[in-house]
Symmetry: C2
Subunit: 658 residues, 2 copies
Amino acid sequence: MNPDLASERQTASFSVEKLTAWLDGGVEHTRIRRAVVEAIECDPVFSRENQYFQSQNERYEAAVRKAVHLQKKMHEMGWTENGPEFKYIYRALSGDIAFLLHRIFTRSISVLGSNKQIAKWIPLATQFQLIGSYAQTELGHGTYLQGLETTAVFDITTQEFTLNTPKISAMKWWPGDMGRSATHTVVFAQLYIHGKCYGVHPFIVQIRSLQDHSLCPGITAGDIGPKMNFEHVDNGYLMLQNVRVPRENMLNKFCEVQPDGTYVRWGSQKINYFTMTTVRISLIADEAVIPLMKACTIAIRYSVVRRQSKLKPGEQEAKILDYQTQQEKLLPSLAAAYAFHFINDYLQELFDKGYKEIQRKNFDTLPELHAFSSGFKAMVTQYCTSAVEICLRACGGHGYSLLSGLPSLYTRIVASCIYEGENTILLLQTARFLIKCFMAASAGQPVPPSVTYLAAVKPGKCPATNTSDFLSPDIYTEAYQHVAVRLTGSTAAKLQDLIQSGVKKHDAWNQCSVQLVQAAKAHCHYITVKNFAETVEKLKTKAGIQKIMKHLCDLFALHGIFSNGGVFLHDGYISGAQMDMVTASYLDLLAVIRKDAVPLVDAFDFTDKSLNSALGSYDGQVYQRLYEWAQKSPTNKQMSPAYERYLKPLLHNTLSKL
Amino acid sequence: MNPDLASERQTASFSVEKLTAWLDGGVEHTRIRRAVVEAIECDPVFSRENQYFQSQNERYEAAVRKAVHLQKKMHEMGWTENGPEFKYIYRALSGDIAFLLHRIFTRSISVLGSNKQIAKWIPLATQFQLIGSYAQTELGHGTYLQGLETTAVFDITTQEFTLNTPKISAMKWWPGDMGRSATHTVVFAQLYIHGKCYGVHPFIVQIRSLQDHSLCPGITAGDIGPKMNFEHVDNGYLMLQNVRVPRENMLNKFCEVQPDGTYVRWGSQKINYFTMTTVRISLIADEAVIPLMKACTIAIRYSVVRRQSKLKPGEQEAKILDYQTQQEKLLPSLAAAYAFHFINDYLQELFDKGYKEIQRKNFDTLPELHAFSSGFKAMVTQYCTSAVEICLRACGGHGYSLLSGLPSLYTRIVASCIYEGENTILLLQTARFLIKCFMAASAGQPVPPSVTYLAAVKPGKCPATNTSDFLSPDIYTEAYQHVAVRLTGSTAAKLQDLIQSGVKKHDAWNQCSVQLVQAAKAHCHYITVKNFAETVEKLKTKAGIQKIMKHLCDLFALHGIFSNGGVFLHDGYISGAQMDMVTASYLDLLAVIRKDAVPLVDAFDFTDKSLNSALGSYDGQVYQRLYEWAQKSPTNKQMSPAYERYLKPLLHNTLSKL
């Protein structure tokens, strides 16, 4: 154990084990999680040891191997999809596994298929008699589903749909598991009957032979090539030329083409949005918060092991975490990891409630849930991405080595800002909801509980009179609320002014969109701060933990005010003098939290294998590990052919010329 | 030609060719640059076509091949190191070449070596009778040179130095060209004579045989393994065990160990800082501004080809650049690329002047030059890195494909925030200079010309009364100046208060460091805005260009105020009402500049080969190129062994079970 790291653990102000259990939701959850991690990590098939040395082809092969092996493992361990272990498996594998789109394929049939279709396809999928994918996005079309160009024309004579890719921009592009693995996929295409377009519908299409995996007639498919990360996924392309599927292959829970070509639609399609909504919520923990927790663990452990320059003359070089500038990079990121862990709990609860309502056919909460899932997906992924980048850069050169684990965390998390809804578009969805609610509230109409605060437009001033006032959650939560109301209100006013001055509605919306995005962010930031404060409040019986969580909550809130001061100062709600108090409180907190920084990341309870980092191991043997690991790199496996081919002739030719 | 891209070029408000020539510094420079680019790009050895598909080993080999070939090419073309073509070669190769550290090796001998050493080693290096590297950084030591642990002990009996790596943290780590290529290196080590330490000195050490390239006795060396980018560079590690070099191998322009062990020091070492200073300045263009220009070119061309959702009901899907939120991502980044191109010109001029003074043994300007090079290196690399990331994310999923070129630009530029001085440390250097000058100015003492503004502390208010006032360079330049003075002044005051209240000087410095960094950034931002405005002012005779440059200057300045409002609002210099004017002016400008966005990136004059991007080509054939390129990926070369090994057993086993 590196003594510089060990010493950090001796002075923890709280019990790390108790904090871990609390974060997990109880000791029993911690026990189950650790059992899953242990079972996965002791199995060599799941090893990620050589990951940073592997090519895209090797990563893909390993992901398929793991996915196949996982089927055996689950059977062997008695884990089921509905069991308490399931949610920890993906985390334990760090998501480095194939067939994730196979699950989306299955889910889409369960949600969009008729009972007959479910009875036919789900068992085939569950038993891996086929490998499924989900082909929605096209080369030229992402967010705007109505713009999809793939066509499915109904042929009455054969009772089939003929699917085609009319032009290159209509090629399916990005679907995971499709480039090399899938035998089947759900294709979204514009339905045509008797020359009339009925909009986008889903069709089950076989793309590869179940016997020899060759492409089916009319199918062109392959891998879309190298990406910034996700080398383990065979994101694919797909072109269809007169591919015929039987009438029963259109998923028909909500609509059907009858044998005579009559188009019938029934039921509510709203539930579709709920599926997308749940995907957005479920990715927050796995794809944003956990990666940020890992990055914080790596960067903070490294920052107490790395010594650089002298803080005090005559002493040894200082731990870099003792520099205020380093604290200012890492500790707000750490506080954010906690803040988002808690907002995730909050969102899960909200969605569990919403789901129960929806099962009772009450869709009233859908707009609110959609606004929440959009806004928080965008806000959390954006914030976590920036924070992971900060962690990477805070580790200097060693952070730039793949062996630190940080580059992979970054190149992967940045994708979360784009997939499942590009963040700017999502924030505009949230903004649309806010503006609507703001107008309703202003007109005295009822609004969903999460946005009743929008009705409370008070000009007012922040009542804080000294530095310690800013350690009061009421003070800063109200400041966040004030800003969220002000930004929503002023943008709503601008929107109305533009429309009243004759600008068309869609142009007015576009001219306000930068400010609408700001308002949506302010709303999510406010809810996050409020929820953090309430979470701390509820902790009353766990004094040691409550104290440090209170500090983190304060830090998260004050960092937001400090680094985004303009919106708080704009109307004088916070004065310049008060901003100085915020700054003083904020900087003081850094030094306080710094003392518990290592215990606070230890509580995330990542194993060395799950961090897969030469900088972040529990024992802090950074330099030894970097050296040992580098020696295993393929770049050190043998003398490069470059020597014989280029270096030797260069060195020897010139030698001989002399 | 994609018609959506073509139409953007028909309405340019200025001559692209004239703007290009102006950016190059005249038509003759444009001609030379294009000739170099043409010669490099038509030579297949320099092709970067397969770059995104290559492994680290392949990238290294290609870089060596290109470096060796470049020697021939230069001879063939009549290009010399002092010729006008030289500065364009690196740019034309996109820096994707080996032996860059060989040049630093040569330069360090020229600067730190005696005439005798220069006469011996420079010809050997120039003729590639050896391949050099530069071994300063250690596994445990970067910025703080005095902390280096490698030792060089003088042995009077043999008249040699014995070099050792006493522990693992002392291992040399990171030197480029050292992992696999170099035969020699300059090792920085603590000099010991008769048991007394004389500090860090440079020694020429041979590490590999000139005959068979095997490691020399006592040498352990290799490649440090995979990194986030720079796969083409063999960054290396080096351990020394009783490696003996003759007394003449210590570079001894400034100090010498005489045969009897007497240590003699003479001359000024200040010139060393100047070398580091010039490296920081020279990387600004090549490693930060040009990559940002490329990223803007790719993202802006793509944004007029990509259509997504409807802006107006009933019309076709809109070009994504017509959305205000997309303009807000890309156009300030574009304005920044121009701003930093001009600040680079400014810095080059400043350094040319400084260099002339230094040649006359006048070192007075060194502190100012050091502060400038540190601050601007940090500010520009940081800003450009963020802007490249914005460009990447603004292209959605396709930006995430390596084939877009954007991931590589990002993973490479982010390193520029770390190497040649980590940015936070550099900004603190600038801040130290600012505080010193501020104190001197306050005491009525003379200060360097660039910081005389610090003496002009006026409380005052911004005199703007309407939106268009904020299009006046005087108005916004003064606002930036006011903020820079205020932040420097308030931090200086805090520093003094702390010291007067009994806090030790180094602790006080640390407690102010977050604010010191802010002050340094504000200073650099101010100078950049001021220089942009002055550059536009000087353009009087080129009306068409001046008009659009004025818009970009306004946009750069107002974007900074809009997105960093807190520091302007803090003391009421800008009021909330004025900030609304800033916002209105800023958003209006986006729509104005959007019209010329494509001509503005065309003027950077990148060839398709130099962009190496499926999204950014001149003809805008995005989808066709993505598809063609993806098909060439190694992931599509053959059926993956994963099928026979895992997929087939999975699919068939379960089939057979039924």
